[in-house]
Subunit: 364 residues, 2 copies
């Protein structure tokens, strides 16, 4: 047996997902001594821990980080710092920051691999997407982002496997937002009549299923970002998440109200619109759902409300689950379907940890 190899880990972000990832990383390092994982940098938006010899005492990491007097390094300085590490480095970006995403090409071109749930890098401009994968191809550094769609569900890896083995994806369709899933499964259930739209939105917010301002879920942009990622992986060079039709569920009149609270207060005025949509579906024995779809033949990507038969898997979804259906040449008329929780700290961190394992397995 040769001595254990050493791999350095740098982490940006220690919020909900970041904390879950840290505890998964600690357990992983305890279970698998090879390669030896050494944390050499960790930061929040305000604080950082790092030092010249690239080792941190991890005994009380989060406390030490909170107590740190160091500000995070500027991104170009992090690139420099990590490039000087005595062995290979994996950067774990547990933020949703566009700035961090924009610097991926700089990290990758210096041979630093990246694993992340951050959607911004892969759903921003198509130029950034190209720069990221060109930098990785040139340096041999790896970049994995399973949790950028459906959290820990094997969505991205499955799509990549389909494409890489030569299958032809014809259509991708699904419910890509835990918030939207919860809202419509309650508002327009397969059995029973469901609640009023504004009441369901209020309930979802109280249960912590929405962003602090629910409009950040209802504008559809989160789903559009996920669709952008999947469309690009399937081979459509989608320019940006705003370059295709995305239906917003925010009434025009409430787009510019100053706060989420005011939005929620005035939302009941618009319940009749959503009720009409629900009834229109009901009259066809269907239910309404907020879905995203990619049609590869027509190159049409869209996000918005659609009607589904009550027996359709998308209609039968439960709780805040996601469902993603891949229609391909090989799978024929019955799609390959993946379903389950698509949000939450632990399952999102799991996708990141699993990506880290893939990167480690390819480090010689």
């Amino acid at each position: 047996m040769s001595a254990a190899k050493q791999v350095y880990i740098a982490i940006i972000g220690a919020g909900g997902v970041g904390k879950c990832f840290l505890s998964q990383l600690e357990a992983l390092a305890a279970r698998r001594p090879n390669p030896r994982l050494t944390l050499c940098y960790i930061s929040t938006s305000k604080k950082a821990l790092y030092n010249k010899d690239y080792t941190l005492d991890a005994s009380s990491l989060l406390q030490d980080l909170a107590a740190s007097t160091e500000a995070p390094l500027p991104l170009p300085r992090i690139v420099e710092y990590l490039s000087g590490a005595p062995s290979k480095v994996v950067l774990v970006d547990n933020t949703s920051s566009q700035d961090v995403a924009d610097s991926y090409p700089a990290f990758l071109s210096r041979g630093i691999s990246i694993v992340t749930p951050n959607k911004k890098a892969f759903s921003g401009s198509y130029q950034l997407w190209q720069d990221i994968f060109a930098a990785a191809a040139n340096s041999g550094a790896k970049v994995y982002h399973e949790s950028s769609v459906g959290a820990g569900l094997p969505v991205i890896s499955t799509l990549k496997d389909l494409v890489d083995t030569g299958d032809e994806v014809t259509k991708i369709e699904g419910v890509f937002s835990g918030t939207m899933s919860f809202l419509f499964n309650s508002f327009a259930p397969v059995e029973g009549s469901g609640g009023k739209w504004s009441a369901e939105v209020k309930k979802a917010k109280e249960l912590g299923y929405t962003e602090p301002d629910p409009r950040d879920d209802l504008n559809g942009l989160d789903v559009a970002r996920k669709l952008t990622i999947l469309a690009r992986l399937a081979g459509l060079p989608v320019e940006s998440p705003t370059s295709f039709p995305v239906q917003s569920l925010i009434p025009k009149e409430l787009e510019s109200v100053s706060s989420g609270d005011e939005f929620l207060q005035r939302l009941p005025e618009f319940d009749s619109q959503m009720e009409e949509t629900k009834m229109a579906a009901q009259n066809e024995c269907k239910v309404v759902r907020f879905v995203g779809s990619i049609d590869m033949a027509t190159k049409v990507v869209k996000v918005g409300l659609e009607k589904f038969d009550r027996s359709h898997p998308i209609a039968a979804l439960k709780g805040s689950d996601n469902i993603i259906s891949f229609y391909t040449k090989r799978y024929g008329s019955n799609p390959l379907i993946i379903q389950g929780a698509g949000a939450g700290g632990e399952v999102t961190a799991m996708g990141v940890t699993s990506d880290l394992l893939k990167v480690l397995s390819q480090m010689s």
Copy 2:
């Protein structure tokens, strides 16, 4: 850019899956010049192609193989031959042979990686399972077998990711046989009354959904093998596919009739038994399905008939699709579900090709 690396590929088996794999391999080699894939051995049960310089002219491979006057090498000789290759080797076992499976430890211990849809190696004796993974760990050779459960569906990779990232699997449940899926979706559909049992078995055979002798599907052993593999991956050291309860759907009186045809001819005599089972479920507003399940807490693995609510995803399955539900600590009450075609040459070969890509990505 350095010169393309070279990896040698040896293939045993050129039947339904083997032929699909060959065409996927050819397309793969054309798309990805690095590493350069060189076929150095291919055999059926009767014929083989190989030569001293480890290259085959692949221009008309299947014709050349059919015309070959060489018999396949005995397995120990194949190990020797491949060990002498001037670069790394991946063995693709596209058979369902127990003999080939039994020699995996010999291949692996010589550094030869293996990708295969062959269930026999992973669902045979627990000793063979241990020998296989010990040999791989010692030599660093890789062994992947995604298509041994659910064909190309990402079942094994998902279970491994759950376990490797530290999730706790509590239960696995599903429909693991395309034949059983088709039979019960037709015999006891969610809507309508379905056909007679013997008529459905006959129809399934005519459509090519059963083995030549349908008893090879109805005895439940195929499902038991798949459960054995998943249970072991989840951490239960199951001794063999016959070491837990497996319900056979072959009436005792027909176990020893001499042919599949005679079996099908006499099966109508036993329709009333299956009709009773269907009615018992119907009286509870349920449908009957042939499922396998693994309960990690009680360590109970079983295969047989169970009743499900009509709205349950297992009840709502279509055609000959498989469905696999992973219940875990992280995913809570709503399982992670994977669904789709679990049999067929192209999708089975896809799992093998995808495994090959994983092995190649780890070859430095």
